[in-house]
């Protein structure tokens, strides 16, 4: 049956064509990343001419104050916005999945997903104009452009992504597990903390990773909401990249790519393993109970 349906798709030519297409597109996807890495070791003042191997750009990077302080700020903002996005995203996803009926549900679901597709220039502009208005109305400097305002912007975007990821998991959840807990007398909050939360933990972890990397990468929203002294790393990179090719950018890129590749690989292996273990436990429990 399997072999039959495979041959329905095509003969040897189609299979080879398919393999070739997959390889070609993967080549397209990975070529820029590998050249970026390769040229970070390029010992030449001309960015596109290969002049031998060097670690010079990395040595320079270690004393590049602008990049390093930008990186530190970006990491802080990414950590804070990912954490807050997961909290708000969980609440929003829970609202959308569990409460089918409440006033203004359409408006709510529209507002939750709108930042996903809204051009970032608009999100940045809108938030900035509002923060300026609040500042003028209250005279407080709480919303002075800086880390706090960038965090607000990233949180708006991150919450939308976190909600999508967590919502998908909540929809898949077996409602019987929660019903059983309620039948046994658990209060709503206990049901959430003891049953739902452990079940969606993997989704929370992936949502956190996703929003962390989004925040670490954002240029446009940060540009609108940053002030003097709060230049994030992407803003530093962007301003250098705008002026032309710059080997220091290649070196930063390589470091970031290495860190992200390791984190994502380890993270997804751990998540997949935990997922399998949980599925096995649930299976065992259901067999044992039945």
């Amino acid at each position: 049956m399997k072999a039959d349906s495979r041959s329905l798709i095509g003969g040897r030519f189609a299979r080879n064509f398919g393999r070739g297409w997959l390889l070609a597109v993967f080549f397209f996807l990975y070529l820029p990343i590998f050249t970026l890495i390769a040229y970070s070791f390029n010992n030449s003042p001309l960015p596109t001419v290969w002049g031998g191997f060097t670690l010079n750009w990395y040595v320079k990077l270690a004393s590049d104050r602008e990049i390093l302080s930008g990186l530190w700020l970006s990491l802080k903002i990414a950590f804070l916005s990912a954490s807050a996005s997961v909290v708000l995203g969980t609440l929003a996803a829970f609202t959308l999945v569990k409460y089918r009926r409440f006033g203004g549900r359409t408006l709510f679901s529209g507002m939750v997903s709108a930042p996903l597709v809204m051009p970032e220039v608009i999100i940045g502009l809108a938030l900035l104009l509002m923060l300026v208005a609040v500042q003028r109305a209250t005279g407080s400097d709480l919303f002075d452009r800086g880390m706090m305002t960038i965090w607000l912007g990233h949180l708006l975007l991150g919450m939308a992504y976190a909600t999508v990821v967590i919502q998908a998991r909540l929809i898949d959840l077996n409602p019987q597990l929660e019903e059983a807990a309620m039948d046994l007398g658990a209060k709503p909050f206990q049901v959430f903390a003891l049953i739902t939360l452990p079940l969606i933990l993997q989704a929370l972890a992936s949502a956190w990773l996703l929003t962390f990397s989004l925040s670490l990468d954002d240029v446009v929203i940060s540009a609108f909401l940053s002030g003097p002294g709060s230049t994030t790393m992407p803003l530093v990179i962007f301003s250098r990249a705008r002026l032309g090719l710059n080997p220091s950018v290649n070196a930063v890129a390589t470091v970031i790519i290495a860190v992200v590749a390791v984190c994502v690989t380890v993270g997804s292996v751990l998540i997949a393993r935990a997922e399998r273990r949980r599925a096995a436990e649930i299976n065992a429990a259901q067999r044992g109970g039945g």
């Binding site: 039959d4 349906s5 597109v25 970026l36 001419v49 929003a92 220039v121």
Partner: protein, 321 residues
């Protein structure tokens, strides 16, 4: 706020009890994200709208509604909108944003459909690894991947050298993809390459999800009835993947229309995009009302594709259940 309507709860005594009642369960779960979105998503938009239709005072827009001498005056300024639609620069920028977003969508579809198709028909054991390999570039910095194309397309870059060696640049210059033979950066070509590269995974993932779910017995039935493989593909697989095609196309098209970073790094004078116009109005001209007006018109532009996308998403979800 309608959202704070709390669930019917048992009567409590005293203020503390009532506050406690309000802060529990449902109303907090709904109220917190709702309130946050109203304050930081809805309100900012209303302010942008307000900027675009108000007479500007010294530092902030004048009130639209004014009360005085027992008369309520409503003053709405359309000047900014008239300026946008009367000025060829803005109209051109909107049109070219739509054009390049559409070209990018087609390029992504042409590259992505066969890719998603062959991925969905690959050995099941291989599929998670392929999926991971598509997702991995998505995790590495978007900004850096766009920057990398600068190095590839600049004079002496790998792709630039390759295209020169094949002699394709003469044809590309003749067809208007690049300005002069041999120069690939800051042209429509580099812009479309950069946007297609960035958004290709957004095309592949919904298509793959759709094609992987397809019932292969339908193809068997078609073969039994005498259809050739190509005919079966064209008459069965393609129509069945319509929802995936539309979802992917919208996920590429919508963000491309308002894109700023890619046109700024890879585009040139020929490829004026509206995201850059908005940015320049704000950062270079300091014209906040005009920037707001550009933003409102941009939102109106993406509302239609967005509605199409939501309709098909809802349909796909219905079927998925």
């Amino acid at each position: 706020m309608p959202a704070l309507k709390s669930a019917p709860s048992e009567p409590r005594k005293g203020l503390a009890g009532r506050v406690h009642g309000l802060l529990r369960g449902r109303s907090v779960v709904i109220g917190l994200p709702y309130g946050w979105l109203l304050a930081f998503f809805m309100a900012p938009f209303l302010i942008v709208l307000n900027y675009s239709i108000s007479e500007m005072g010294a530092v902030r827009p004048e009130n639209i509604v004014t009360l005085g001498d027992g008369v309520m005056k409503l003053s709405i300024k359309f000047g900014n909108y008239l300026a946008i639609f009367g000025d060829a620069l803005y109209v051109k920028a909107y049109l070219s944003s739509l054009k390049y977003a559409a070209i990018t969508t087609v390029v992504c579809l042409v590259l992505g459909y066969p890719f998603a198709y062959f991925m969905a028909r690959a050995k099941p054991a291989l599929q998670p690894a392929l999926l991971m390999a598509v997702m991995l570039p998505f995790w590495t910095s978007f900004l850096l991947r766009v920057y990398a194309w600068k190095g590839l397309l600049d004079e002496g870059g790998l792709v630039s050298d390759f295209l020169l060696a094949t002699g394709l640049d003469g044809w590309m210059a003749a067809s208007g993809m690049i300005g002069t033979p041999g120069k690939f950066m800051n042209t429509p070509f580099s812009l479309v390459i950069g946007m297609s590269y960035t958004y290709l995974p957004f095309m592949i993932l919904p298509l793959y999800a759709n094609l992987a779910k397809m019932d292969l017995r339908l193809l068997e039935a078609a073969a039994d009835l005498g259809a050739s493989r190509f005919k079966a593909f064209w008459l069965i697989t393609v129509p069945l993947s319509r929802a995936g095609i539309i979802a992917g196309a919208m996920l590429v098209f919508i963000p491309c229309v308002g894109e700023y970073v890619i046109p700024e790094l890879l585009g040139g004078p020929q490829t004026l995009m509206i995201g850059r116009v908005l940015w320049d109005e704000f950062f270079s001209n300091n014209d906040w009302p005009m920037a707001s007006t550009v933003a409102v018109v941009l939102v109106l532009l993406i509302v239609v594709p967005l509605a199409i996308f939501n309709k098909y998403q809802a349909e796909a979800q219905e079927r998925g259940r």
